[in-house]
Amino acid sequence: MKVCPTKAIRVKNRTVSYIAGDCIDCGECIRACPRGAVSAHTTENLKVEKTKTILSVSPVLYTQFGPGYAPHEIDAALKSMGYYDVYDQCEMQEMFNVAMELYINENRKNKDAPWPLISPVCPVVVRLIAYRFPSLLRNIPPIIPPRELVARESKKNAAQRYGIGEDDINVLHVTPCSAKMISIKDPLVVKHSSLYGAIGINKIYNDVMKHLRHVADIDKAPHSSGIGIGWCMSGGEIAGMEDGNFLAVSGMQETIQYLEKIEMGLLGEIDYVEFRTCAEGCIGGPLTVCDKYQAKHTIQRLVRLFGPERTVKCGYLKQLYKKGWYSSDREAGPPVRTQQVRSIADAIERQKEVEKIHKMLPGKECGVCGTPNCETFAEDVADGKATVEECVFIKCFKNNTEKKREGR
């Protein structure tokens, strides 16, 4: 309840409820509650026919089984589980790096974009901005994130290669992220997602373990992209970009602090900020199995093995970029998600009421009322969603004075 960055959780009568429209699916509550009072919405309940399903794998999966297994061995394990095909996202992440460089250069020249630009990759960050920092939506470039590009292209390839319809094939994202499902149902960075669903790494882990076999000595493993693997940790996305002024920030509170700064007009000298609301980046995702520092160790080993150099060809990518291959159909950026619920005049009255109630409260921030803190409780009371007596301190005080009056 207290970890929720948008204060969307209430606990009343021993049950957890969410204020619809305030939840940004960040997964902080999933991480905080080990007993599973909350769980992520993923595709578990969806019926998927494995033979008609392509898996698009977040490289975070490659960090979950220690440095002894190469990415292609993990892909092979997934395939032997009966899926139609498996796609590694690493190369697409490099391609995305190139597109973003082109976008930055173009906009630096014609001075169009507001600075700094903000990475469209983390879906929680995009949601956080849409709900709490809507003035920064225009800082998010209309470039399609790698997971969507992979889904779009892998469907196209499969259709071409096997002569089936694109609609006959589904792409599932294997992910460490609790926000992927919502970002598929309601994608803010594109109008419609090319993904069919998402499946948590923690849901597929045991099965992969069962199918995992060594194919070759790890040192002789086929080349995957070191840059792509590095993307899983904070700083990995910008590490794949060449000359520019970049910044990487990870963690929910840190992200909020930096967004506040950018909204106040700071950091304008920076070109691009990579935000990840999970600490240490995607390896810190709530649906991972392996501890994030252990995973980081594995990444560093794999990056050394595959090398930090770019493996994609820029000339060709430049052509694709010019053709709009990367361009989102939301040209003006993601849509605003804050609702104007009351007029300014009403807001002023409400604010005064909130402050009056807040002053009556003990300020112990105990949370017994089922609200994350005293200020939020005061807001709920002002909005008629709670009564002051739900505060134990006020109730006690009231009972005591009544008892005194009765002469006991």
Binding site: S135, L266, R342, I348
Partner: protein
């Protein structure tokens, strides 16, 4: 008419707490449902004037007033005052020390940015007595 007024204090040369008042103003305006672009403009103005008090001013008093049509931010301090107001508003003009420049301040864009992001400003400053900057931003 409905009106909300809040006051805050700003300590000169306190770089640890510098910017906190602006963040409070930013989140208050946001929670009141003020439109995003107005929140952004008001936060830019609040931040730049708060930092000027921290860097150049004296004991500061910050006032935020919101009514149906207007946000007003008044940033007053009892510091040394501004010598030449017209000059201070020129882009790039700054009396920042080398130390301030070292940590990224002193671009001389603070006052010009306040002007750009507000609808009206009034400045009153007397040498040795202090500075008062009043910023108005229309809500609708």
């Amino acid at each position: 008419m409905a009106e909300l007024e809040k006051t805050y204090t700003v300590k000169p040369r306190d770089f640890i707490r510098a910017g906190e008042v602006s963040i409070q103003i930013q989140s208050l305006l946001k929670s009141m449902g003020v439109t995003p672009d107005i929140v952004r403009r008001a936060s830019v103005c609040a931040y730049e004037s708060e930092m000027n008090i921290v860097m150049y001013g004296g004991e500061g008093t910050f006032t935020l007033r919101v009514d149906q049509d207007m946000i007003m931010i008044r940033a007053c301090d009892d510091g040394p005052g501004i010598d030449d107001i017209e000059l201070a508003f020129q882009e790039g003009y700054s009396t920042a020390t080398p130390e301030y420049r070292e940590i990224g301040f002193g671009a001389g864009m603070g006052l010009p940015n306040i002007k750009k992001n507000s609808d009206e400003i009034q400045v009153e400053s007397h040498k040795g007595e202090g500075t008062c900057l009043v910023i108005y931003i229309k809500i609708n």
